[in-house]
């Protein structure tokens, strides 16, 4: 684990006159947030393990504009989109994978009518595809039999109807998958969406992440699996708020797969 990861950039590929199979869109959280960076690295390790020819934009990547759009700043969103689309189209990107459901939703649904048309996949969908193609091996390992519940990210689940890819991966890990009272279509938000991540909540009697964490703790999991860096932060804070950080871990699906084999 001592050596740095090999993470090629699009600029390097371009210089060599090559094109990668897929662009890994890292996202702001995945680039800067200390917790989310671990998810980014775990996913990169899996990409290497599966022999995926990928590249990142690196310093040419910029916020998709999702939080701005959902906070009402359509202008800033479209400026961000225009800049990003110019970069993506410049590199003739066809396929994008990202570990952030917010980036995923924005790139997939909101960029096309602004001139950005790509095949966009969430990292759980991409990993599942690698698995189906036999490029990635996912099996038992150290999480086998562990009681795990999956928290659906709104922007993967309800927003884009993907409930099974992360669960299929967890099943492959032979974990004991338990569902919360509110899951899939009815899953409760972690409280971060719509720009809430960047502001204090409005006055109320509880924080949304505490409510959701309580729902997760009801099923007594050893691990709360997540598929979104923001959900990860919110649920981690929730677990801490409930003084359960010693017995319950919040881990991204990609990390679970990478850690199962001690990558």
């Amino acid at each position: 684990m001592a050596e740095a990861l090999k993470v090629p950039t699009m600029a390097e590929y371009m210089a060599e006159g090559k094109k990668p199979e897929v662009l890994f869109w890292v996202g702001c959280a995945g680039s800067f947030d200390d917790r989310a960076k671990k998810i980014t690295k775990a996913f990169v390790k899996l990409l290497h393990q599966a022999g995926v020819d990928f590249a990142v934009l690196g310093t040419e990547e910029s916020c998709t504009g999702d939080p701005a759009k959902r906070a009402g700043n359509e202008f800033l969103f479209q400026m961000q989109a225009a800049t990003n689309i110019e970069v993506l189209n410049g590199y003739e990107i066809k396929k994008v994978v990202t570990a952030c459901p917010h980036c995923f939703n924005t790139l997939k649904n909101e960029y096309p009518s602004l001139g950005g048309n790509y095949e966009v996949m969430h990292h759980t969908q991409f990993l599942k595809a690698l698995l189906n193609e036999g490029r990635l091996k996912v099996e038992g390992g150290k999480f086998k039999g562990k009681k795990i519940t999956f928290h659906d990210p709104c922007y993967l689940g309800r927003a884009n109807n993907e409930y099974e890819a992360p669960r299929d991966l967890l099943r492959k890990l032979e974990v004991e998958l338990v569902e919360m009272r509110k899951c899939k279509k009815e899953g409760l938000c972690c409280g971060a969406g719509g720009g809430q991540m960047f502001k204090e909540p409005e006055p109320g009697n509880k924080d949304v992440n505490i409510e959701r964490t309580e729902q997760a703790l009801e099923v007594n999991p050893e691990i709360i699996a997540a598929g979104c860096p923001f959900c990860n932060t919110m649920m981690t804070d929730g677990v801490k708020g409930k003084d359960k950080e010693d017995s319950v871990a919040v881990i991204d699906v990609a990390e679970l797969i990478a850690n199962a084999e001690d990558l």
Binding site: M1, A2, A4, T9, V26, C28, G30, S31, F32, K37, T40, V44, V56, T59, S62, C63, P67, A68, K69, R70, A71, G72, E74, F75, L76, Q78, M79, A82, N105, N109, E110, S113, L114, C154, Y155, R158, A159, N161, K185, E186, L188, C189, G191, A192, G193, G194, G195, Q196, F198, K199, E200, P201, E202, P203, G204, N205, V208, I210, E211, R212
Partner: protein, 446 residues
């Protein structure tokens, strides 16, 4: 005597229909105050969605008990209304059970109406109990005080009374037929089959034919006048969903819930900014008026689109959205149902001004602040739980977003922390104050 009754009936019927038509016209006029939006694409898919969700009630049954009861009342409402056809013909022509020529099939029909009427009665009583005795939380939120609460109960009382009148009418009719009363008796023997109202006969025991006729006539008249009244109560109530649920689902969004619209007006501005050859100070082309820049977002009902206004009229205040809303569950002021009720109430307020003056005159009020508070708007996580929960395809999130757009782009009134995040995005491409040049540092960190 008979002819007077027929004339009175015709007058009541025409008055009921004319008044209803006037209200429908107002409804359409008010919806058209909104901006046009094209939702005519994919008619096949839209129709299928309407068949599944509105006709097929597929989202209602996600809550099994409420769903099952609702299906009974829904089917009862549709099927029993076949009987109204006969009542209208009988009323105009002074006939008695004109459709009885259908013979055996007629008996089956009447029997089905009776059983459904009984089930509807039971269903409506259970609905009332859920609302008033078990006090299910979503019926007791802040916005459900006063008229909304009374309105819901009024509708339930109405339906109870209509069903009781229908069964009473049948019972008296049956007893009159058994007694061989003129006008009620047919050569073919007993017409109609009365599996439920036959049990009411002991209550009518020993009454003279003339008393029975009075009972039957009162029940018959009260029933049909009640229906005409109910038809016209709809417009003033949350109950419009029985008509509007169908178009509302038809015109609902087909794209993934996560996909929010990209504002066209902004698109133009951004293109202009990104185009190095554009001259921002250029005079408008010859013969072209300089356009008034379009208002961004919504502060009043006029800024919303017609589907959003249709949504507001369709909402029946069931509160499934609010009970699924993460903000509401944690005690925040936001309630997606209230967003819809406020939109409708403001639209009605505007409609009233137009009724009085012939056109809208600024009344110094608007949807934002006078109805919907900023605190409500800023509590939303855009999680789409409300959209998913709505059994008739209402999208409260789209209204919340349009109002946030107004606050941010027209008023620069975003909460401070959000304004900072936006500035960060603008300056360094991330909501946090990190340098864009450090974006790949994670790859070098051990």
């Amino acid at each position: 005597m008979q002819i007077i009754a027929q004339i009175l009936f015709a007058i009541a019927l025409v008055a009921g229909i004319v008044f209803f038509a006037r209200n429908v016209k107002r409804l359409i006029r008010n919806i058209k105050l909104g901006k046009e939006v094209d939702r005519t694409d994919n008619p096949g898919e839209r129709f299928a969605k309407m068949a599944r969700i509105a006709m097929g009630q597929s989202k209602m049954v996600r809550r099994p008990l409420a769903g099952a009861l609702h299906i009974i009342v829904y089917l009862g409402f549709i099927i029993i209304n076949i009987e109204v056809l006969e009542i209208i013909i009988d009323g105009i022509f002074g006939t008695h059970r004109i459709l009885s020529f259908l013979g055996g099939f007629y008996n089956v029909l009447i029997a089905a109406f009776e059983i459904l009427a009984f089930l509807v009665l039971v269903g409506v009583i259970l609905f009332w109990t859920r609302r008033n005795v078990s006090r299910i939380k979503r019926f007791w939120n802040r916005e459900m005080k006063g008229w909304p609460k009374n309105d819901a109960n009024n509708i339930l009382y109405f339906e109870m009374v209509l069903m009781v009148l229908f069964l009473t009418m049948n019972a008296a009719d049956y007893q009159l037929q058994l007694n061989g009363a003129t006008h009620y008796t047919s050569e073919a023997g007993i017409i109609g089959s009365f599996p439920v109202s036959q049990f009411l006969l002991p209550l009518l025991d020993g009454l003279s034919n003339s008393t029975l006729i009075i009972i039957e006539r009162i029940a018959w008249w009260a029933h049909i006048l009640g229906i005409l009244f109910f038809l016209n109560y709809l417009y003033y109530s949350k109950h419009l969903h029985i008509l509007l649920a169908f178009p509302n689902v038809y015109y609902s969004k087909l794209t993934p819930q996560g996909k929010l619209d990209n504002l066209e007006a902004v698109k133009k501005e951004v293109e202009l900014m990104m185009d190095p050859n554009a001259d921002p100070f250029a005079a408008p082309a010859e013969g072209e008026e300089e356009e008034e820049p379009e208002k961004f977002g919504a502060s009043d009902v006029f800024d919303l689109n017609q589907v959003q206004l249709l949504n507001a009229y369709t909402c029946t205040e069931c509160g499934r959205c609010t009970s699924e809303c993460p903000a509401n569950q944690t005690g925040k002021k936001l309630s997606p149902r209230k967003i819809m009720m406020d939109t409708r109430d403001r639209l009605e307020e505007v409609g009233e001004i137009i009724n009085k003056n012939g056109k809208y005159e600024d009344d110094g009020r608007q949807l934002l602040d006078d109805y919907i508070l900023r605190e409500e708007l800023w509590a939303c996580t855009t999680c789409n739980a409300c959209v998913e929960a709505c059994p008739v395809g209402i999208d409260p999130l789209s209204i919340i977003l349009d109002m946030r757009r107004y606050l941010v782009m027209e008023q620069s009134a975003a909460p401070n922390e959000l304004a900072i995040a936006m500035t960060n995005i603008e300056n360094n491409g991330a909501p946090w104050p990190y340098n864009q040049m450090d974006r790949l540092n994670w790859a070098k960190e051990k």
